[in-house]
Amino acid sequence: MRNLTRLLKIAATRIARNPYHALAAFLVMFLTFFVAGAFVLVSLGSNILLSYFESRPAVSAFLKDGTSAEKVKKIQEDLAATGVVSKTSYISKEEALKIYKERNKNEQLLTEFVTPEILPASIEVSTYKLEDLSKVADTLKNAPVVEEVIFQKNIVETLTSWTRTLRNVGGGVVAFLLVTTFLITLIVIGLNISLHQDEIEIMRLVGATSGYIRAPFIFEGVFYGLFSAVAATTFLWLIFALATPSLQRIFAGIPILPASPVIFGYLLIGEVLVGAAIGVVGSLVATRRYLNI
């Protein structure tokens, strides 16, 4: 324990004596963890968004005025018979007005002169699979009581494509940054080893074990990893907290925000673990490569 404290002190002193090396390692690691964290958050957000759109009634069929309840029931039975529909619901004119008023409760002008007669009744249909949406939409379009059909296939498809691209590009960028971070750690620790050759030689001569000589360099790598991971996650959380009101306006009605602090907790744990691992592995490789003991 005494030695651990002393070794940590040696590592801290070395970091303080070579602030530019430390800053270079810290900034590269910070950038990596910031980009990785942002990528994870955007990925999570787009997944929630995708699930939201996939789980919402995906096809809305607006009915002609005067459509009887029997005809609506017949359409619902026909849709259920296809086996691809997970849920259908009938929205009457009155219910449509209620929904409209709720969504625009802050805009009095938009709600003042609207009556149930203006809004059409509709049937909202969800499918188990995204690819069945077109089939359901075609069925509804052919029904004589249906005025118009709208569905969110395009939104979901675009979002799926974006998410896939984001995963590939983001994954690639993060992998590239992780490799760069590892190499920078290795170079910085290697430089520090060359700067401390005299001290290392003295340590060996007075009987220090190889573990004792290596440990401060390993701790140095871990320091860089830990501090940059904590700083990047904190910075990300701050930016996210500041941007949340604007993002909430963009994603109004979608339960994506505010993001749970638990997500940031997990992100912090993940980044700290990865940071420590990069620090340990980078400095271990550096000590094996550059330290002759």
Partner: protein, 235 residues
């Protein structure tokens, strides 16, 4: 205490040591003398396993140094203090911290370190310089600090490689007095030196080396103890 048995050390085509056999007894003070490249420093390095012999064996207190597992080398080095011409002090540490360094590595408590280091500072006469940095010391003081660091673990052997090489005559004699004091405490001192004034003025054993070989050993030729030993054998 230390035995070299037919030891050779080759660096590529250069023979740094050739077939060297030497015995150094407990509490002995030995001068290794000879020109540069004679193999004095190599001989010292073999004792602390800084180098491995190409042939032969080196024993320290019965332990064969070259066959020691690497993990045991630190224990060996804690039993052998080393002093160099260029002092090898850590410039960012004070005199006190430089001397305390081996004790820190051993994992002693702060109180133990403080007490032991104080005792050693007193022994080498540097109590008033304990908070100075090496750059604030004279050559003699720096070498005394290095000796204190080498002796702080109370090793059985002190190896001194040209310890007076960078010092003026007065400081050099101070260092010799100090090494003599450590020897009187029972420590084996092996000192490699060019300084013939010092080595010839002191009554210690002299081992002269040239081109990696021992060419003269005062203990083997003409020393009183050697002659006495010879006579008793003849009887």
């Amino acid at each position: 205490m230390i035995t070299f048995h037919e030891v050779s050390k080759q660096y590529n085509s250069l023979a740094a040591l050739a077939d060297v056999s030497l015995e150094i007894a407990d509490s002995e003070f030995v001068f290794l003398v000879g020109p540069t490249g004679a193999g004095k420093s190599t001989l010292l390095k073999l004792i602390i396993r800084e180098e491995l012999p190409t042939a032969g064996q080196v024993f320290v207190d019965g332990l064969e140094v070259s066959s020691l597992p690497s993990s045991h080398v630190p224990q060996l080095r804690r039993r052998v203090g080393t002093i160099f011409q260029d002092f090898k002090l850590l410039p960012q540490r004070t005199v006190f911290e430089n001397i305390a360094f081996p004790l820190e590595i051993l994992g002693l408590s702060d109180e133990e370190i403080k007490k032991t280091t104080k005792d050693i500072l007193e022994l080498v006469g540097l109590e008033d310089k304990s908070h100075h940095f090496p750059s604030q010391l004279s050559g003699g003081e720096a070498q005394r600090t290095a000796i204190a660091r080498a002796f702080v673990l109370r090793p059985e052997i002190i190896l001194a490689d040209e310890p007076t090489g960078n010092l003026d005559a007065a400081s050099a004699w101070e260092i010799m007095k100090l090494l003599g004091r450590l020897n009187n405490l029972g420590t084996v001192v092996i000192m490699a030196t060019h300084n013939m004034d010092i080595s010839s003025s002191l009554p210690h054993r002299k081992v002269e080396m040239q081109k990696g070989r021992i060419v003269r050993d005062s203990k083997q030729k003409g020393t009183k103890s050697h002659e006495a030993g010879k006579k008793s054998k003849e009887k």
